[in-house]
Amino acid sequence: MRRSLDTLVQLAGPVLLVVLVGLVSTTASPANQVYFLNALVAVAVVVSIYVFVGNSGVLSFGQISFVAVGAFAAGVMTVPLESKKGVLTTLFPVLRDHTIGNVPSLLLGAALGGLFAFLVGLPLMRLNGLAAGIATFAVLEITHNVLQQWTKIGPGATTLSLVPESTGPLQATLGALVVIAVAFAYQRSRLGRQLRATREDAAAAAGVGVRVHLQRLWAFTLSGALGGFAGGLLVHQLGSITTEQVYLELTFLTLAMLVIGGLTSLWGAVVGALAVSGLDSFLSQAENGVHVVGHRFDLPSGTRLVILATLMAIVLILRPSGLTGGRELALPRRRRS
C-alpha cells in the first residue's frame, strides 16, 4: 500500500507541476505566454536528456543533436506545400513535394531521433567518462555541421520559417506529459533498473549479469527518440528555427537545468527545467521593469545573464546534488519508533 502510494507521488509531482504551468499559461497574456511555453518545452528537452544521462551516469553533450534532428524533420515536413516549393527549392523531391500533419511530424521527429541515437550509440556506448563526453560532443558538432551545409535535407544555414506554430498551451503541456510518462515508465521498468544499477557500480552490475553497453544503448535510443519529439515541440512553438538554436548554447543550458534540478531523478529534471527557465523569464521581464508585490524592480540591461549565471554557480556550489538532492518526490515519512 505504502509502496504504491510512493509510486503515485513520484509520478504525480512532476505531472501536477507541469499541468499547473500549462493552466497558468492559458491565463497569461499572449506576450507572456511564450515564457510558459518555453518552460514546458524545456521540461520535455531536459527530461529526454535525463533518460540517458540521469539513469546511466554517463555524461553526454550530444543529446541536443537528437533535438536538432527532430526539430528540423518536424519543421521541414510541416511547412505548407504551396510555400515550400518557393522557399525550400533545394530539397530532395520526396521531401519537397510532401507535407504531413502536426502529430505525424512529432512522431517522425521521435522516430528519426531514436534511429539516429541508436546508430550513434552502437559504437559510442562502449565509452566512459570524459571520452564519452567528448565523443558525444563530436556527434553534436557533426550533426550541426551537416544540418548547416546539406541543403537537400533542410534549409542549410538559412532560417527555416513558415512552420505552423501548433505548440500552444495544450500541445506543450501534453507533450511534456508524454515525455515525463515515458521517462517514468522506463526508469521503473526492468531495463531502467538495470541501467541504474550500472550507474551506481558498473563492475558489480556487470558481475550480476547486467549487460552494461546494451542497457546504455537502450536508454540512449529512448533518450534520442524523446529528444526528437521534444525538438518537434520546439520547432512548432518557435515557428522558425536556425541550426544555431539547437547547438552549443541549448546544450549547456539544458545540462545546467538538469544538474541544478538534480541529475539522478525525474523530479529533479522537471524542477530544474522549470526553475531555471522561470528565473530566466523573470529576469528578462525585470530588465524592462517589473512589479513584484508592490515593489518595482528595474534591472540594468545585461545583468540578466550575470544574475542567472551567478545563481546557477551558487546552487551548484552549495547544493552539488541539485535542488531536489537527486531524489524523487516523496511524502514526509513518520519516523518509526
Binding site: 544521462v53 555524461l59 559504437p123 559510442l124 562502449r126 565509452l127 566512459n128 567518462g129 570524459l130 571520452a131 563526453g133 567528448i134 565523443a135 560532443f137 563530436a138 556527434v139 558538432e141 557533426i142 555541421n145 551537416v146 551545409q149 558498473a202 563492475a203 549547456f252 545540462l255 545546467a256 544538474v259 541529475l263 545585461g302 545583468t303 545573464l305 550575470v306 542567472l308 549565471a309 551567478t310 546557477m312 554557480a313 551548484l316 556550489i317 552549495l318 552539488p320 546534488s321
Partner: protein, 302 residues
Amino acid sequence: MILAVLNFQTFSDAVGLGALYALMAVGIGLVFGVLRLVNFAYGQLIMAGAYTLAFTSTWPLLWSIVACFAVVVALSLLMDTVVFRPLRGQSPAVMLVTTFAIAFLLQAVALIVDLRDGTLGEVAPSLSYLNEPVTIFGAEVRKITLVSIAVAAVALLLLALLLTRTTIGLHTRAAAADFRTARLLGVRANRVIAFSVFLSGLLAAAVAVLMTVQLPLVSPDFALRDTIVVLVGVVVGGIDRLWSATLGGFAIGFVSGLINGLLPTDKTVYLPSAVFALVILVLLLRPAGLFVWGRRAAVERV
C-alpha cells in the same frame, strides 16, 4: 597534390597554432591533474587577459603585459578559492557544469564592461607589429609564429624543470598520481592546488598575449572556440598525463592549422564533420588517449 601546396609558411603557421594550443592544454591539464576538474572557464581567463591588454593599450607595452598577467593570475586564484575549493570531491559532471556557469558569468560581465562605450569589441593593437614577416631560409614567416614557438618551448621547458627538480613540483606530481596517498604522506593539498592553479593562470596570460597579436579584436567569446577545440585535443591525447594532454593539444592545433592553410574555403564545408569523425574513431580505438601507451592504456577506466 597536397604536397604541392604544402609550403613552409603554412607549415610554420600550423606549428605556431599547435604551440599556442599546447600551452592551453598544459594549463587545463595541470588543474585536471590535481583537482580532476575540467575547467571549461579556462578560455574566459584568456578572454579577461585579452580585455586587459585592450584596455591598457595606451600604457607602455611592458606594463600592459604585466597588468594582463596580474589580472589573469588573480582571477585564476580567485576562481580556485571561490569555486573549485567548495567543489572538491564532487562528481565530474557537477564540476564541469559549474565551470560552464562560471564561463557564462565571466562572459556576461565582459559583455557589460565591453558595451559601456556602446560598441561590441575592443582592440588590443599593442603587439600587432609581430604580424610582420621575416625571411628564414628564403621563406616568409610571421614573427608571431616564431615568438609563439619560442614562448611555448621555454614555458614547457621551465615547467618540466619546475615539476621534476623542485619539491613543490614533486608534490604536485605526486598529488596528480594519487591525491589521497600524497596527502597521507604529508603533501599539503591546498598548496599544490594553488600552485597548479597559479601556473595555469600564468599560461593563460601568456596565451592571451600571443593570441591578441593575431586576433586583435577582443569580444566576450574570445578564445571560447579555441578552448573547446583544445579540450577535445586534450581528451583525445590523454588527459590523465600532462605530457600526453600537451601533445594532444599540440596535435589538434597543428592539424587545424595545416587544414586551414591547405584547403580552399569552399572545399572545407564538411571538414568539421570529418575532423570530429576522426575524433570519435580515435576515442573508440584508444579511449585512454592517443598518446598513452603501456599498462594504463590497456585498463578500461570504469
